[in-house]
């Protein structure tokens, strides 16, 4: 089993709800707290397992905004585990989830150095490394309804841009989406074999604008009046 996320960059609207849901669930979960530093100050900072960045792809007028949420990729060949001197970082054989045993971590930062995806963040208060657990305390919780046994970020996504499942199972939804939508891995040249997959934006037909009606006299007057009135 190789559990992971598939993220649809076509439908992601970049609302950061997944990051907030992640923070809310995990700060009180088994790996919490996700410490905040000067949360109400001028420069708020803190530990997040999930961060969303926004990019412009292509040049105007052929450009496009892409929102890219990033959390741990749960790599098959995870260097963060290889470099860890204490054995605190480990990858579960049964489902491929990469975890940190906080009782063993000595806070040397080397695993964060080995991660190109920025998935690991040091908690400056606890002095240990923290990272996405794929909500391991949710997905195996038998007391939850089956549809709730998913990572918090997946459940909360209002655009339904996040999918969770077993990428080793060719019939799972995540495998099917990866296949049909030509799912991409980030920085594949480093050879970490990330599990999380990104679905590139679909090619959509442009909205036709040629047949939009030209301005009439009355609509121009209305527009002028609308701007002239001080409300």
């Amino acid at each position: 089993m190789r559990l992971g996320l598939v993220i649809d960059l076509d439908t992601c609207v970049g609302c950061h709800a997944c990051a907030v849901a992640c923070k809310q669930w995990n700060t009180s979960g088994t790996t919490g707290p996700l410490t905040d530093i000067s949360a109400y100050g001028a420069e708020p900072s803190g530990v997040w397992f999930n961060r969303i960045r926004h990019y412009e792809v292509g040049d105007y007028p052929n450009n496009k905004t892409v929102n890219m949420p990033m959390s741990c990729m749960h790599c098959e060949d995870a260097d963060c585990v290889t470099v860890c001197p204490t054995g605190a970082s480990y990858k579960r054989k049964e489902d491929g989830i990469v975890l940190v045993d906080q009782d063993k971590c000595m806070g040397c930062n080397l695993c964060a150095w080995a991660c190109p995806y920025g998935a690991r963040e040091l908690d400056p208060v606890d002095g240990v490394m923290k990272k996405c657990t794929l909500c391991i305390d949710r997905i195996y919780d038998k007391t939850l309804d089956p549809e709730d046994r998913q990572p918090a970020c997946v459940i909360t996504c209002p655009a339904h841009a996040r999918f969770f499942g077993d990428l080793d199972d060719p019939d799972s939804e995540v495998s099917r989406l990866t296949r049909e939508r030509a799912g991409q891995k980030l920085m594949p040249e480093l050879g970490y074999k990330p599990t999380n997959t990104y679905l590139p934006p679909r090619l959509t037909r442009p909205v036709p604008t040629a047949d939009v009606r030209r301005k009439s006299l009355i609509s121009s007057v209305k527009e002028w009046v609308n701007q002239a009135i001080v409300r």
Binding site: H54, V66, P85
Partner: protein
């Protein structure tokens, strides 16, 4: 990469210590140590061990949870940091045995002492190599992910050790052409190696913002990193002092680390007072310290691609 002072102190001091220990032990055991006296050998080895110990203690300062530092010996099979820790500790019993026998016999060590010394030399070399491999094994930082990294660590450690060796020898006996020659050769070699390294990292290779985001068909620019203030990632990996500072630091490395010690050594060889060797040692320490700072300041971590860098 953020240059942590504790790591700079650790790698420079313990590198110099291991280098000094290796040179002293090899010259002594091979019978080539010029005007060897028990008290001088004893001082040389003591200085080496003190430098190594200060360095190792300094290395634990960058740990955020030092309570678990003992666990660093647990993953020798995969982690170079673990290997370094084990080798560094394994070095002590052999080195102390050899140093103790040198002290009690006045330099005329027996068969067991010789074997202990040889093993200590091997472990010292392997420890510096492991330190270099910690950095060289990181695929995320192309400036470090090269065979030149462990080679630089080894050569710079040996060169610093050689300058310390000549300087301390100067306190006891005076200028020795053999030791000064070794120091000169190692400094020149290390300088050439560092020059190759700077040339090597000039070529841009590895991931770009395009492969990082998966959009290889068009230029990619960052619109917003998603946070208003710094994060752990920007603080740890975003350090960039700027081109001018880096250029000046490189000049400083070559001037203080290599050129001045080489000139002073050559000057002393042609008859200048021996105490100039102390300045050579100080200059080399400052220059190699700057080199270690630069090693971090010039490293560009792959995660910065997600924060807007076009290439590493």
């Amino acid at each position: 990469m953020h240059p942590a002072l504790s790591v700079i102190f650790f790698t420079v001091l313990s590198g110099a210590g291991y280098g000094l220990f290796m040179l002293v032990a090899v010259l002594h055991l091979a019978g080539g140590y010029p005007d060897a006296s028990g008290s001088e050998l004893q001082t040389q080895l003591a200085v080496a061990l003190v430098l190594i110990t200060i360095g190792l203690m300094s290395s634990s300062l960058h740990l955020h949870n030092p309570r678990n530092a003992w666990r660093a010996f647990m993953r020798v099979r995969t982690s170079w940091l673990s290997r370094e820790a084990v080798l560094a500790v394994a070095f002590y019993p052999f080195a102390l045995w050899y140093a103790w026998e040198t002290r009690t016999t006045g330099g005329d060590v027996g068969q067991v002492g010789r074997i202990m010394g040889i093993i200590a030399v091997l472990l010292a070399g392997l420890t510096i190599f492991s330190t270099g491999m910690i950095y060289a094994s990181l695929k995320t930082i192309r400036q470090w992910h090269t065979a030149l990294t462990p080679a630089n660590y080894l050569l710079l450690g040996l060169a610093l050790g050689a300058v310390a060796l000549v300087a301390i020898h100067g306190w006891f006996v005076g200028a020795s052409p053999l030791l000064a020659g070794i120091a000169l050769a190692l400094l020149v070699l290390a300088a050439i190696m560092k020059g190759i390294y700077f040339l090597w990292i000039r070529e841009v290779t590895g991931p770009t913002i395009n492969t990082a985001t998966g959009f290889t068909r068009a230029p990619v620019r960052i619109l917003d990193p998603g946070h208003t203030a710094g994060t752990f990632l920007t603080r740890e990996f975003g350090f960039d002092p700027g081109r001018r500072v880096i250029q000046r630091a490189r000049l400083g490395v070559f001037a203080l680390g290599f050129a001045l010690p080489i000139l002073l050594l050559a000057w002393v060889l042609t008859g200048a007072p021996v105490h100039w060797l102390n300045l050579a040692l100080l200059s080399a320490l400052a220059g190699i310290g700057l080199e270690r700072w630069l090693f971090f300041a010039e490293a560009r971590h792959g995660v910065m691609l997600y924060h807007g860098r076009q290439h590493t």
